[in-house]
């Protein structure tokens, strides 16, 4: 099993993801991180996103995406990590990555992983804007 899947309430580490994709034969490594933007919306500046997940089907679909990425692009290692619960502006919400002998399959697989994750994994986000809305509790995984 060379795919690393994670749904975590804790901070995601770019360095740890890079380590998970390292190996002597892996000359091409593509790593993508998505951060929460502090953009201004109708309710004010976004201070955090609350990520909600339906855990069991989410993990099943993440496994399917991971298998398909390795089958389709022939990459050796993959990372598919997503935060759950409250993620503050500036923090990493998602990391995907792929490693192969060369760059082309690594880029293609990483793009596939993030696109499929957004389309098919049961995760939802709710914006929290301004200091007042920051006081409520984030949703818990189910």
């Amino acid at each position: 099993m060379n795919g690393s899947l994670r749904l975590s309430p804790r901070a995601l580490s770019w360095a740890a993801a890079a380590r998970a994709l390292s190996g002597p034969d892996l000359g091409g490594v593509a790593l993508f991180a998505g951060r929460v933007r502090a953009e201004r919306g109708a309710a004010g500046r976004v201070v955090a996103l609350d990520y909600e997940v339906h855990a069991a089907p989410a993990i099943r679909v993440m496994r399917e995406i991971d298998r398909e990425a390795r089958r389709r692009f022939g990459v050796e290692r993959t990372v598919l990590w997503h935060r759950v619960g409250r993620v503050r502006a500036g923090e990493i919400a998602v990391i995907v990555g792929a490693a192969a002998g060369h760059r082309a399959p690594a880029f293609a697989a990483a793009r596939f992983l993030i696109d499929e994750l957004k389309k098919t994994v049961p995760i939802w986000k709710t914006e929290r804007a301004g200091p007042r809305s920051n006081r409520s509790s984030p949703p818990r995984p189910r």
């Binding site: 339906h54 919400a93 986000k125």
Partner: protein, 103 residues
């Protein structure tokens, strides 16, 4: 009559476990907002009922859920329901998945 050891009074219909057949409905994101709850215990016939009929019952009871349902996936025990005629049986988990928003 209490059975001791902290057990609930099984003779009290307001306290004891319900024996009526039901499914556990999970509501996420906009579906949760429309209903105002994240879970419902929904009664069904002992033989169950089609997923489409169950969704229609939920929409009738919670009118704000109706437009959300039109754009949502129906999920039985963690697996998307292929057809509205797929049967949801007592004890099943029935989830409403609005469009996803990860990343």
């Amino acid at each position: 009559m209490r059975t001791g050891g902290g057990d609930k009074d099984l003779m009290d219909p307001g306290v004891g476990p319900s024996m009526a057949p039901s499914v556990r409905v999970l509501l996420f994101a906009t579906a949760r907002t429309a209903v105002g709850r994240s879970e419902l215990d929904w009664p069904v016939p002992p033989s169950g009922l089609p997923a489409g009929a169950l969704a229609a019952e939920l929409a009738a009871a919670h009118p704000r859920l109706a437009p959300v349902l039109k754009a949502s996936r129906l999920v039985r025990n963690g697996v998307p329901v292929g057809r509205p005629s797929a049967r949801i049986r007592p004890g099943d988990e029935f989830a409403i998945h609005p469009p996803y928003g990860g990343g």
